[in-house]
Amino acid sequence: MTNLSETKKTLSLKILFISFLLPIILIWIIDSSFSGGYSGFDTSDSFTRFANAILTSYTLGSIILLGNLFFYADSRKRPLAPLFGMLMAVLLGLMATIILIGMGPMLLEANGSIRAQTVYNIGHTIVSFLAISLACAVCIGAMFATLTSGKKRILFEEE
């Protein structure tokens, strides 16, 4: 039997997840209403982008985390096993990218070769990462701005 705080925590996580998705669903509904039918996005193109984004961000994320292992190694006796494990994870990502892109037109987005698509994917991810970083800075900054702009709160009443 789960206790009340756990149920509350699960509920909060669900609400937070919905609050992240809700604006996108609302935009979809509004756009569909304006265009007089289902909003016109190509599911095949969207899937191709989705799959390319997963492969590229997994590989780039693994490379960044592989670099991060050096911080971890500082606190241990520089073990080789995690480095090897993470290197395997990176290679797995690279291989999956090359094999899946090479399988045919499924993951090629107006690019003629595996190399062109891979380079485009990296460039695309860098730009998306820039946009996400700036958006995060704006949102978190705006949150702090609202917190510091209000009246100073008294946390404890002095006796």
Partner: protein, 265 residues
């Protein structure tokens, strides 16, 4: 020089210098190495920004072109938010309250600048005639993340915070403004970007965002798994022997030397 080699030397090498410089700066402890990392980072950044001139034949240099275009409004936006935060009720490093107005003006100018880039003549045009493809990726991704994330933060203010209705309302307003911009982009043609193009790239950005979130989560999961497997394979650390009587006496002397002071009122 061959085209690919040019792109590697003048674009991808500087791009990796940015990542390498940041890594050195974050991982090293002494100032000399930290400064070395900073210099590599700055050099890489400059070379990426000038890549439309150094490697005009490479499609990748459009990223450098985009960075050159967005650096102005982005810096203004971040600076504006910084000024607003630190001119408010902060315990340390408080700025004069006049900086608040300056911050608000900076954010407003940056907002107008971004809008002009989407709908007016400020659009990043690559090679003079075409809209920079990466701008069509950057702007919808930026808007959709602002929209969803400010909605998430607004709800988390209510769910986690105490008495934070005012802050939550402001964040919802930010979410609504970005939603309005997205809907405007989908329905009103700009000077260089049509509403159809924006709509198409917006939905691709949504797919891209979810792909990136899943990909990054997968890599973090694998990283955690690798660390967990290694940690569970190593032996338990040897326990330290109990302190001797002399060590305990020395410790109590040290503690006695370092605690005390005047009694508080």
């Amino acid at each position: 020089m061959e085209e690919i080699l040019e792109a590697v030397v003048f674009f991808w090498l500087p791009m990796s210098m940015i990542a390498f410089g940041a890594w050195i700066n974050l991982s090293s402890k002494d100032n000399l190495t930290k400064n070395f990392g900073k210099i590599i980072f700055i050099l890489g950044f400059i070379f990426v920004c000038i890549s439309p001139w150094t490697v005009p034949s490479s499609p990748s240099s459009a990223i450098g072109h985009l960075i050159g275009f967005i650096i102005g409004p982005s810096a203004l936006l971040v600076l504006g938010i910084y000024l607003i935060i630190f001119s408010g009720n902060v315990p340390v490093g408080r700025l004069p309250s006049s900086d608040r107005k300056m911050g608000l003006i900076s954010v407003l100018v940056s907002f107008i600048w971004f809008c002009l880039m989407q709908w007016a003549d400020f659009t990043p045009m690559y090679e003079g005639s075409e809209v920079n493809n990466f701008w069509l990726i950057f702007f919808p991704t930026f808007l959709v993340v602002v929209c969803s994330m400010s909605s998430l933060l607004s709800v988390s203010m209510l769910a986690i915070g105490d008495n934070r209705q005012r802050e939550s309302r402001i964040l919802i307003i930010i979410s609504l403004i970005s939603m309005l911009l997205i809907i405007a982009g989908m329905n009103f043609d700009g000077k260089n970007i049509s509403s159809e193009t924006f709509s198409e790239y917006f939905w691709l950005s949504v797919s891209d965002l979810f792909g990136i979130l899943i990909g990054i989560s997968m890599s973090i999961l694998v990283f955690g798994l690798v660390i967990y497997m290694y940690e569970s394979s190593i032996d338990e650390p040897k326990s330290v022997p109990k302190p001797s009587k002399d060590e305990l006496i020395l410790a109590s002397q040290k503690i006695a030397q370092n605690i005390g002071g005047d009694e508080s009122e």
